[in-house]
């Protein structure tokens, strides 16, 4: 039982650190609140949806930006989508980079866009790792028979 409590504590600490470091914001909490018996894996589902969507968008973005003539409208639309989905799950660092990205887009600054793309990719992978780690922890907690503490 102690192990479960330890795990739970670890999970809480970990998620708190995520909030503190700014990877996540309140929106994620809202997501967690939406999860209940009828949708037991709602958060995971949504987050994985986010992963899929983001990866698709990032691929599209790198493709579009590596073209000879960059279609900034397209880039802007992609970034907008990424911004929307990242803000929906509360991945605010990704969202913030998206805002900067869009500014470069408006300026039609290819170099800035490419830099932002790298940044977005970086942030995305970071948040992905963090979230996956958190889900792993949650799984462990559940496997150990404990409940996931709400924050």
């Amino acid at each position: 039982m102690d192990g479960v409590i330890l795990l739970q504590k670890q999970l809480v600490d970990y998620s708190t650190s995520l909030y503190k470091e700014g990877f996540l914001d309140d929106q994620f909490k809202q997501l967690q609140q939406l999860q209940d018996e009828s949708n037991p894996d709602f958060v995971v589902e949504v987050v994985y949806l986010f992963f899929e969507d983001s990866e698709r968008l990032l691929n599209e973005l790198s493709k579009t930006l590596n073209q000879q003539i960059v279609d900034f409208k397209k880039v802007d639309a992609h970034v907008h989508q990424l911004k929307g989905s990242s803000s929906s799950i509360g991945a605010q660092r990704v969202q913030k980079v998206c805002i900067a990205f869009r500014n470069y887009c408006e300026e039609q600054n290819t170099e800035g866009c490419l830099r932002c793309l790298q940044l977005v990719k970086h942030e995305y992978s970071l948040v992905k790792n963090k979230l996956e780690t958190m889900f792993k922890l949650e799984k462990q907690v559940l496997a150990a028979g404990g409940s996931i503490p709400m924050h």
Partner: protein, 1207 residues
């Protein structure tokens, strides 16, 4: 040019600095100017220095401007100078060219003329010379021919007599010739034998003489002896050496040739030169110029031999001499007329003739000799000859003419021309010297004069031009300076405006962005407040935080409103709304606030106010909310009255004030009306515009008259200390004024008797055309029912206002302000009957007669506060009142905090009419209606509990704030404020939709309550309230079922079908779950096109739906209500989507709806957070606007407000 300029005394410093004097002047004035400007600069600086102590910046600016002025002055000066120099150059060139051309052309033509003249002048003496020579030759030839003829006749003279005869004949012939040619000086015939015959004419003495030699000395045979060697026999020696020969001179009559005197012997060659054989060495004619002792002019002599008949020997020599005197004479004449000098020389330079009187011959030891031209005594001729010799030397250009135009002889210029006359043996050169002055003198003079005139004229022009330039540039530079200043001012102003624009833009954006977190903070605080486990202290703190946050949010809203108005983005709606009801709601709300302040809030609307008006209800309410809250803020005790009347001369407020008398103080309004003129008034009528007047009257601290205008400025408060005392930002009144102005009205602070402030405003609102007649309150017919009222209210102002109004409507009114007064009134007028008739059993008519007053219904309105609630006395008081229950109906005005125990007690005692404070006309009307209805029912002996209950609950619902007895009052009022300015409330069409139902405000309050419920779900009082409320709402048929269902937060959207158009899968999922959790059915589509199609499909299938009832309960309710046949109650539309974005999709949907008349609410979901996006959303036909990430509460309230309208 420059010289001329320098000579002109009028030239000042402006003149080109090319001349020294001008330069000097110029420099001096330049230096003066610099000194002057430096002085002024210094003065400026010193002036600045004086101010430096407190105005450093200004001083610097001044300094700057002075230096700028100086530099600009220099530049202007330089430009001016440059223009002047250019002008000078231009004028100078013009002058020079003019002068040059005039001069050159005259000179050239004159030169041509002069050349002709000179040529002519010289030609004439030459011609004369030629004539002379010619005639001489002719005479000589004639003489020779004659002599030959005569001598042939007398050839071979045999004797002396024949010889003499020959000579005689010769003499006659010769005379004839001599006499015919008067110009001849002499003719000589020198015979072979030495005999000489000669005629000589002295022109000066006009004597003619015949000279002959002595005949005896010559032999007749002389001829023969010399026939062979003719030449030998001829020599001059034979004559000259023969000194022994005697010549005789015989004077002759010059005309007839008669001998007039005795002949006298003269030595040979004494008088004349006899041409001898020596002069014709080759037997041909010869020429030479000779001189004689007796004439002072050179002589031209020609000699020809006379040959004998066989042409073998010369028998005689004929010589003819002509004086050149006449040539000189001619020259003199010519020169005398034309001035100048002419002379002729031989080729060698011997002077032959001159035009002067100087001698031509030189006396030397050997007799007179010809002189050279260079030796002439005439100065001019000599110097001319010398000049020629100097220039041409010996190589005088033969056969050529020389023309020299500028020969300086002595001090004068001369023209010198020479012609060469090439005669055989006697080539001659003629020279004419004419002083230049004679020909060109006048021309030169004129040229000089012209030049002077031109120069002086140009100098004048230059001076005038320079002055003009100076004057003009002066003006221009001044203007330029002014213009530069103006431009800089404009620039500064534009900058200032831009910065102020940025400021408001920034404020708007900021407040917009800040509102969201603020809403979150407030929501979280609400949750916290509802938490049970808070200690009292914590609870107090949290409540405090809640208040502060609300205040902050209100401030933000104010700023947003203000900037919205300022940027002109505020667009007023034009929807119909019930003005009276809105204001009543407002007063209801504020009365709660007033309870603590001991301030009475009274609504006094005149009866002629239109019931329904067109306009922006939210903004109208905002105006009054701001004004009333402002009044309440400054009023610690007394009352706040909101009066309203429409502009109508007959409109008299119930308080007795005549509105028209105060209109004089409204120049603006009057002016506006005047501006409209008569037709303006008509147009007001035609458009159903109405001028509605309002005043907010309070008994607070009042406003200083000097601040009456400025209180309406932004961030302006009448007293700086108010911020400390009352808080606030000073934006409220500013917003009010901008809104009022926007509605075509005006607001002013009015003078007031007594303490407090009086704000008066008017609004121009249009009334619905068809409702014009029915616009008035559907007045209850009080008269018919013969009502009597006892007003037992503790607020004096409210009571008297109400009483006046009632009396005006012919209702008997008694007033009482406290318990004792009430009992007294009751005793006096109603003679409390002690017979306790149970309700419903007493006979009303009996009662009426016993009282002696013609009353049918007595209504006693009592404020709960009149009872002694602190102790248990109130129960006794109620018992006392029961005595009158038989004759009167009681209506209780409850406070918000009236304990339920009292309400229960009242209900138990049968006092079923209960309304909450404050009392206003609508409530009175309600009470009276209920009473009358009740009465009628009683009369019919039919009383149903249901209706009682209904009435009871109906009025209970009115008491909006009775639902949470435990909660803090001020807190609630804050919430009401929040409600007023909350984003939900700003959602367009939200409030008008509520007004459409007659019972609208009930629903509204219920809804508000619901909203509060949403955050207070755990409140224990809440659940009770819900229990209490649900049966009521169920009973009410008109209330929507949805409200009852929405009681439960978990399923507040239950029964709603929502179409979600969102392309981001994450968001789609999140939103779906969120909505589903709230009980809504969600259909999600990926883009706008799908959304449109889904809607279209279902639109078509809706026909089917109508026919076959769906088993779904929710939809059944919807269809049962018969209000919506649409499959979806609402669409949540993302704005940016692939294929078709939200805007396009909305447009398409709205287009497809055009025919059907249905309107499906569309809520925009967007990640853009700017207000312009909101505008864009609304423009394409969306109904509301939610920003991502989705805030659940906001979404719920938005969705509810939109779906309820369709319900």
């Amino acid at each position: 040019m420059a010289h001329a300029a320098s000579n002109s005394p009028s030239v000042t410093f402006e003149s080109p600095p090319s001349s020294f004097r001008a330069m000097g002047l110029w420099l001096r004035s330049y230096v003066n100017r610099i000194l002057a400007s430096a002085n002024s600069c210094r003065r400026n600086r010193s002036r600045c220095c004086k101010r430096t102590f407190n105005r450093d910046v200004e001083a610097e600016e001044l300094q700057d401007t002075s230096t700028v002025c100086l530099s600009s002055y220099y530049s202007v000066f330089m430009v001016r100078l440059a223009i002047m120099v250019m002008l000078a150059i231009l004028i100078g060139m013009l002058t020079l060219l003019t002068w040059h051309f005039t001069k050159v052309y005259t000179q050239r033509s004159l030169d041509t003329l002069a050349y002709g003249l000179r040529f002519e002048l010289l030609q004439r003496p030459m011609l004369r010379m030629w004539n002379i020579i010619n005639s001489t030759v002719e005479i000589t030839t004639a003489q020779v021919k004659l002599s030959e003829y005569v001598i042939r006749r007398y050839s071979k003279p045999v004797n002396q007599a024949q010889q003499v005869e020959l000579y005689e004949v010769m003499r006659d012939v010769t005379w004839a010739l001599f006499a015919s040619q008067r110009a001849l000086s002499s003719i000589t015939i020198n015979y072979r034998n030495g005999f000489v015959q000669a005629f000589h004419r002295d022109h000066r003495s006009n004597k003619t003489s015949y000279i002959y030699s002595d005949l005896v000395n010559y032999s007749i045979n002389g001829y023969d002896a010399d026939t062979r060697s003719s030449h030998q026999g001829w020599n001059d020696q034979s004559i000259h050496g023969n000194m022994s020969a005697i010549w005789y001179r015989q004077p002759l009559d010059p005309v007839t040739g008669e001998k007039i005197g005795k002949s006298s012997p003269i030595p040979p060659d004494e008088l004349i030169n006899i041409a001898g054989i020596s002069q014709i060495p080759d037997g041909a004619a010869s020429w030479h110029v000779a001189v004689s002792k007796y004439t002072d002019s050179p002589l031209l002599s020609a000699a020809l031999p006379v040959w004998d008949s066989s042409k073998e020997s010369i028998v005689a020599v004929v010589g003819v001499t002509t004086a050149l005197y006449s040539v000189g004479q001619l020259m003199k004449e010519l020169v005398g007329f034309h001035s100048g000098h002419i002379y002729l020389t031989s080729q060698e330079g011997w002077l032959l003739a001159t035009s002067s009187n100087t001698p031509l011959l030189m006396n030397s030891t050997t007799g007179p000799k010809l002189m050279m031209a260079v030796d002439s005594e005439d100065r001019v001729i000599r110097s001319g000859a010398e000049w020629l010799q100097r220039v041409y030397g010996d190589k005088f250009p033969l056969n050529d003419e020389v023309h020299i135009e500028h020969a300086r002889l002595g001090h004068q210029l001369y023209y010198i021309d020479s012609f060469f006359l090439n005669l055989k043996r006697l080539p001659m050169v003629g020279v004419i010297i004419i002083p230049r002055k004679y020909i060109m003198g006048r021309v030169d003079e004129r040229a000089f004069k012209t030049l002077v005139v031109l120069i002086s004229a140009s100098v004048c022009i230059l001076v005038v031009g320079c002055v003009c330039i100076f004057v003009l540039t002066n003006g221009v530079s001044k203007e330029m300076k002014l213009r530069a200043e103006l431009i800089s001012h404009l620039d500064a102003r534009r900058k200032a405006e831009a910065s102020s624009n940025y400021k408001s833009q920034f404020l708007a954006n900021m407040s917009h962005e800040l509102r969201t977190p603020m809403a979150a903070v407030i929501g979280l605080l609400d949750i916290l407040v509802c938490d049970d486990c808070l200690t009292n202290e914590q609870y107090a703190n949290v409540t405090q935080i809640r208040k502060c946050s609300t205040a902050l949010l209100r401030l933000l809203n104010n700023i947003l409103d203000l900037s919205k108005v300022e940027s002109g983005k505020l667009v007023l709606e034009e929807t119909e709304f019930d003005l009276g009801r809105e204001l009543e709601g407002l007063v209801d709300m504020f009365s709660v606030q007033c309870i603590n302040h001991n301030v009475e809030i009274i609504l006094d609307l005149s009866d002629d106010m239109p019931k329904l008006v067109q306009g922006d209800s939210a903004r109208v309410v905002q105006i009054f909310a701001n004004l009333i809250s402002n009044s309440i803020k400054f009023t610690t005790s007394g009352h706040v009255i909101l009066r309203g009347w429409s502009e109508n001369p007959n409109s008299v407020l119930s308080s007795g004030k005549c509105s028209i008398s105060q209109k004089d103080s409204w120049p603006g309004q009057k002016m506006k009306l005047k501006l409209h003129g008569s037709h303006g008034k008509r147009s007001l009528k035609k458009e159903n515009k109405m001028v509605l007047w309002f005043e907010v009257d309070d008994t607070g601290c009042g406003i200083d008259p000097s601040k009456w205008e400025s209180v309406f400025e932004s961030f302006e408060q009448a007293d700086p200390s108010t911020t400390r005392l009352h808080g606030g930002t000073g934006l409220g009144l500013c917003i009010v004024r901008t809104l009022v102005n926007k509605m075509g009205g005006e607001i002013k602070v009015e003078k007031k008797n007594g303490p407090g402030a009086l704000m008066r405003l008017y609004l121009i609102l249009s009334t619905p055309a068809d409702l014009n007649g029915a616009g008035k309150h559907c007045q209850f017919k009080f008269k018919e029912h013969k009502l009597t009222m006892v007003l037992a209210l503790n607020g004096r102002m409210g009571r008297s206002t109400m009483a006046q109004w009632l009396q005006k409507n012919l209702v008997h009114t008694y007033e009482a302000s406290e318990w004792n007064e009430l009992t007294q009134t009751l005793q006096e007028h109603f003679k409390a009957s002690y017979m306790h008739i149970p309700p419903g059993e007493f006979s009303e008519s009996d009662q009426m007669h016993t009282q002696g007053i013609s009353i049918s219904v007595v209504v006693i309105v009592i404020v709960i506060g009149l009872l002694e609630l602190s102790t248990d006395i109130w129960k006794e008081q109620l018992a006392y009142l029961d005595k009158y229950s038989s004759i009167a109906k009681f209506a209780w005005i409850l406070n918000h905090d009236t304990p339920n125990a009292i309400k229960a007690e009242l209900r138990w005692r049968g006092h079923l009419l209960m309304v909450s404070r404050p009392l206003y006309k609508a409530k009175i009307v309600q009470i009276l209606e209920a009473v009358i209805k009740d009465q009628q029912m009683e009369l019919q002996k039919y009383v149903t509990a249901t209706i009682e209950g209904n009435l009871n609950e109906c009025h209970e619902i009115d008491a909006i704030h009775s639902w949470t007895p435990s909660s803090d009052d001020s807190d609630k009022s804050e919430r009401d404020d929040l409600r007023l300015a909350s984003p939900f409330y700003r959602t367009p069409n939200a409030s008008p939709s509520l007004n459409r139902t007659p019972n609208g405000h009930h629903a509204e309050f219920a809804h508000v309550r619901y909203e509060e419920n949403a955050c207070n779900k755990k409140s224990p009082g809440q659940t009770r309230q819900e229990e209490q409320q649900s049966p009521i709402t169920c009973l009410k048929e008109r209330d929507t079922v949805r409200i009852s269902t929405s009681m439960d937060e978990q399923s507040s959207l239950k029964g709603l079908r929502i179409l979600l158009a969102e392309d981001t899968p994450v968001l789609q999922r999140v939103a779906t779950i969120m909505l589903e959790k709230l009980g809504a059915k969600v259909v999600a589509v990926g883009d706008g096109l799908q959304a449109v199609e889904a809607l279209k499909f279902l639109l078509h299938s809706s026909e089917l739906r109508k026919e076959s009832p769906v088993e779904d309960d929710n939809s059944e309710i919807i269809t049962a209500n018969g209000l919506s046949l649409l499959p979806y109650d609402l669409i949540l539309m993302d704005c940016q989507m692939p294929k078709m974005d939200g805007y396009e999709a909305t447009k398409a949907i709205r287009k497809s709806e055009l025919g059907s008349g249905s309107h499906i609410p569309i809520v925009a979901l967007t990640a853009h957070a700017m207000s312009c996006d909101e505008a864009k959303c609304l423009e394409v036909g969306m109904d509301a606007y939610l920003s991502k990430p989705i805030d659940r509460k906001l979404m719920v309230s938005t969705i509810l407000s939109l779906t309820k309208r369709t319900a």
